[in-house]
């Protein structure tokens, strides 16, 4: 299976869009313009862009908080996301939620609950629904390396494996859970080994190579879609910023960052596109200009959008409000 030129350029576009969006959020955070905190996927964008882009329109994503690429690819616009960061009424959740706590079923995205790995069983449930209804849809759930130590990781993976559900589990292994390095989280070399406990297939991919992530996800999706059951994909990458933008990450050895910097997923992709004559500098620059403009517009939109009314927070608790007589 080979990726088409059009797809490769789209992957490049989304990598750039994710990077520029989150970089801008970072600046705005330091300017005090973002409400609350800011977490980015800097350095690991190829993961969410890769597995997000491999989805079909009717598939469902149950992401975690470093999956900005998925939100964008699914069609949640940079405008709405930026407004979300500002706490504006036009944000994805109307200001009820902030930053990466994004969900919108109109675009097949299940909301991210902070509690890591909670979306593993939830994604499994979406896959179960598809299986019960005999639909050819799949679900994908993602969490970090840290999240794989949680009970919900185990319970979700196991249930999906027992029932051979159409779901793919992604792990963004960015070497750290906040400040905690892998060796304090687990005594295995590859997180993919966790899949052995469930008799589930697994794959390890270079999480800084968007094409590799994309191809691996696509393949696993097709297996799942055709009744072959779940796959676990470990994407090895590196978190290049702090845990959040207020964390200087002094606990990460400088050399490690230097080493991974050379493997930046965007530079990687650029090089690939140019060296293989798939694209030219000018074309890539024009994509980048488009991205820049999109982010500028998103920011302007967010800036100009109104804040929610205090009363808005009193609405929407129930989907079926209690009927008053």
């Amino acid at each position: 299976m080979d990726a088409k030129r059009e797809d490769l350029l789209q992957l490049y576009y989304y990598l750039k869009l994710t990077r520029r969006l989150e970089d801008r959020v970072t600046s705005l955070y330091h300017q005090g313009k973002i409400l609350g905190g800011a977490w980015t996927s800097n350095g690991t964008e190829a993961v969410s862009v890769g597995f997000g882009y491999a989805l079909e329109k009717n598939d469902i994503a149950a992401p975690y908080f470093r999956d900005m690429g998925v939100f964008l690819i699914r069609g949640i616009t940079a405008k709405r996301i930026m407004a979300q960061y500002f706490g504006k009424k036009t944000g994805v959740t109307g200001g009820k939620e902030g930053n990466v706590h994004i969900g919108d079923l109109n675009f097949g995205v299940i909301g991210f609950p902070s509690h890591l790995a909670d979306n593993y069983p939830v994604g499994t449930g979406a896959a179960l629904a598809f299986k019960i209804r005999g639909e050819k849809r799949i679900a994908v759930a993602c969490t970090g390396d840290g999240g794989t130590s949680r009970g919900d990781f185990h319970e979700g993976m196991n249930f999906a494996a027992v029932r051979k559900l159409p779901i793919v589990f992604i792990c963004n292994n960015n070497q750290y859970a906040y400040s905690t390095p892998l060796q304090l989280q687990m005594s295995i070399k590859n997180i993919a080994e966790r899949a052995l406990a469930y008799g589930m297939s697994s794959k390890i991919v270079d999480g800084n190579n968007v094409i590799e992530v994309y191809m691996a996800a696509k393949e696993a999706y097709e297996i799942a879609r055709n009744g072959g059951g779940p796959t676990f994909i470990e994407c090895k990458t590196m978190r290049m910023h702090g845990h959040s933008e207020h964390d200087s990450a002094k606990y990460v050895p400088r050399e490690l960052l230097d080493e991974w910097k050379k493997k930046d997923p965007i530079l990687n992709m650029e090089k690939y596109l140019l060296e293989n004559n798939i694209s030219q500098k000018a074309e890539l620059e024009s994509i980048d200009s488009r991205v820049k403009k999109e982010i500028e517009e998103a920011e302007a939109f967010a800036e100009q959008s109104p804040y929610p009314e205090p009363e808005d927070g009193m609405k929407g608790l129930y989907a079926t409000p209690i009927a008053e007589e």
Binding site: I110, D118, L128, A129, I132, A139, A319
Partner: protein
């Protein structure tokens, strides 16, 4: 009309909803081939198949989370906890995912969690708990607790058709001990509405679940002494039907709140404080709460009887209020 037990009422509600709506399905431990620890789902596996009656691995958080995910994409899962006590293992999914989905990002989550709860069966600390207190302070959930076979059926149907997460507290002690005449036709009992279990004038007893029967027994004894009790069966615990509560208080001016749940932080505290806040001028005496003692549920019969509110406790509370 047919006479059926509380347990049969639950079973009928499930059966009819499964037949009516293909998006309804059941999952939990041993609900399939075995038919459930209490045999509520007996025969369903044969009737609806392994993909609508799902035996799960022993993993309450996992299968509750899965129910949530299925609900988000259009299903109406009914989760069975083998005993309500094990719902503690699914607490995070219920409280942080199910309860907050709709408010946070608009994700409607129509799941029902059946929780066979309550004591008086010599089950000890882990097979007797009232679990409504775990969830009572959690905005976004609904909690119902039927006391009759009629309500058991109607509330379960309402819960399944509701678009929010509903914790359905079914009292194990009532399963085979009470019966009701149930209409042939489909009916629901609306969520959020209490009922008057007994009309009366002197004192209101506000209660729910198995304690409704304790209250009725007490009321009968009191009636013989010329004291007329009004019994309110809350049916829905979250959110409470304030209107019904206030109406009875304004009528009798004296209130006993009764529940099997432990006292501190129980539903009764909320009922009592709502009354004090909004009906203070109507009160002719203190609001007396009768509830289980503040300990885990003890095993031995002697201790459990002392732990759970008894008819005599209701009698003395009402008599105290009458003398007030």
């Amino acid at each position: 009309m047919r006479e059926i037990t509380y347990l049969e009422a639950i079973k009928e509600a499930l059966d009819e909803e499964l037949a009516r709506d293909p998006s309804v399905f059941i999952l939990g431990e041993d609900v399939g081939i075995y038919g459930g620890a209490f045999r509520v789902t007996e025969g369903f596996y044969e009737k609806y198949g392994e993909w609508r009656i799902l035996d799960t691995p022993l993993s309450e958080s996992g299968f509750t989370g899965a129910a949530i995910g299925a609900a988000l994409v259009g299903m109406r899962p009914v989760v069975e906890m083998q005993f309500a006590d094990f719902i503690s293992c699914a607490f995070d999914q219920l409280v942080n995912v199910a309860a907050k989905n709709h408010y946070r990002w608009g994700g409607a989550t129509p799941i029902v969690v059946r929780a066979p709860y309550g004591g008086n069966i010599h089950g000890g600390a882990f097979h007797s708990q009232c679990i409504e207190g775990f969830f009572f302070n959690v905005a976004g959930l609904k909690i119902v607790a039927p006391s009759t076979a009629y309500d058991a059926k109607g509330l379960l149907k309402a819960a399944i058709r509701d678009n929010d997460p509903v914790i359905y507290c079914e009292h194990k002690y009532l399963y085979r001990r009470i019966k009701d005449s149930i209409p042939e036709e489909d009916y629901v009992v609306p969520i959020g509405k209490a009922r008057i279990a007994l009309e009366g004038n002197d004192v209101s007893i506000i209660t729910y679940g198995a304690m409704v029967h304790t209250a009725l027994e007490a009321a009968q004894a009191l009636n013989e002494k010329g004291i007329s009790c009004e019994i309110i069966d809350l049916r829905t615990i979250l959110p409470l039907d304030k209107k019904s509560i206030f109406t009875t208080v304004k009528k009798t001016n004296k209130v006993v709140v009764l529940h099997e749940q432990t006292k501190t932080g129980g539903v009764g505290a909320e009922v009592s404080s709502l009354i004090t806040e909004y009906c203070f001028d109507y009160l002719d005496g203190p609001i007396i709460r009768i509830a289980a003692q503040d300990t885990p549920v003890p095993y031995s019969a002697q201790m459990e009887e002392a732990f759970i509110p008894q008819v005599k406790d209701v009698l003395s509370a009402v008599e105290k209020l009458i003398r007030y």
